[in-house]
Symmetry: C2
Subunit: 253 residues, 2 copies
């Protein structure tokens, strides 16, 4: 008689929470599209104000939604091979990086054409610091976790830093978006903003939804009950590593 | 011969990191004071723009610096009695709450006198949501952790939520400050902001320092190596609790 193997357990609350995060993230991308597409005249790549409109859409899609999802894959695909999930994490971060570079090019290109000074506002400072630290985190993640030649001890030293700064940079990306929303509204609709113009209410709501997305991703990632269970292959490696070095095994991100 | 009792270990890196957080927090309060006191004309309580100036100072002092310190006490006073540290945590949060209420009254009073509409901007929405959630967190913390009649199981259920939302609300408070900085600069010095006016550079730097403070507090609180070690009294209680209920003991915040 075949031995009974229980199906891997998927925490009850995780499904609805991840579903909620996806609904929030998609809502943020759609609302940004509607704001720029409907209220701000649409998109183009001709150096006009319509090129600027590419910037918010790319940043919300790349540095918030895809970035958040790249973090979540370790919780969602909890019973798949670690290697496959790492590759998915890297692919999502690659896409996020490319989209956010397009977003950066759009705003600098528009500024150059319209002779608007760069990098004077708090939004630009926070956004640039976040983007540069994201690049550093991206390159260090690639170096430490995708190349097999890196020693397990170095990975286990770097892992808590990678996890902490991953979440901190998501929070900074969202804060930069909120600053961008405020800047755009005060430039574009200052006289009607204080009269609760529909565009202002839409953009404010976008801000709160971005915060909700960040809080939900942060909650899912930090709660012990949702941590990725070590699978048999990782357990074996960890025990082998402990025997060889006398150290604690590498925990899952 | 008396038995040798080793001195409790204080992690090497914790001292400099906590020192750094205090330097950053104090710098934020001082820079806010200089910005409002020197560049914006000072403080008063007469419904004028000088009354508004009380608002940023109170929010940075109360909802950022004192709030952050209230979180840190569990790491800093790691070998003192849990009860004493809890009381210090509560006293700091009481002070933070009173100061932030003064900050809220200042801005609403100024708006009423100057007939400026309330609650239309993203800054006001984020700030109000943060403050109301802080009140809920404050009352729930008081109820669950300071009253001895609450059952240990309920405390251990609520603790991870209290810790997570404590950090999430600090991040939201800092994001609200960044939005306030951007709003104030675009109202007060829009023509010279893009010419890198000293006031704009000072306020932008304040924004980055607030982010650094939040990141450092978050780092200290979330790293395993800085977690509060259970003392003998807590260990005994935890073992007793496990024997009674068959549950895991209550972990430290």
């Amino acid at each position: 008689m075949a031995e009974h193997v229980p199906a891997p357990r998927f925490p009850n609350r995780l499904g609805p929470l991840v579903g909620g995060s996806q609904a929030l993230g998609l809502a943020c991308v759609i609302i940004t599209g509607v704001w720029m597409g409907h209220f701000r005249g649409g998109f183009s790549w001709d150096g006009s104000l319509l090129e600027f409109n590419v910037h918010p859409l790319c940043m919300v899609l790349g540095l918030v939604f895809l970035y958040g999802d790249a973090i979540l894959v370790f919780r969602v695909f909890r019973h798949d091979s670690k290697r496959a999930v790492k590759i998915l994490h890297a692919v999502l971060h690659c896409t996020a990086l490319v989209i956010s570079i397009v977003g950066f090019v759009a705003v600098f290109h528009f500024h150059a054409k319209a002779s608007i000074p760069d990098m004077y506002s708090l939004h630009s400072w926070c956004g640039m610091v976040t983007f540069l630290l994201y690049l550093v985190q991206w390159l260090m993640g690639l170096g430490f976790f995708l190349f097999p030649c890196i020693m397990a001890q170095m990975r286990s030293w770097y892992l808590p830093l990678h996890v902490f700064f991953g979440l901190a940079l998501l929070a900074m990306a969202i804060a930069s978006c909120l600053l961008g929303i405020t800047e755009k509204l005060l430039f574009a609709i200052k006289p009607t903003y204080s009269k609760f113009a529909p565009e202002g209410i839409l953009a404010n709501s976008l801000g709160l939804l971005l915060v909700c997305f960040g809080v939900l991703v942060g909650y899912i990632v930090t709660q012990k009950e949702f941590k990725r269970p070590p699978n048999s292959e990782e357990e074996a490696l960890s025990v082998h590593f402990k025997m060889l070095t006398g150290m604690e095994g590498i925990s899952s991100p």
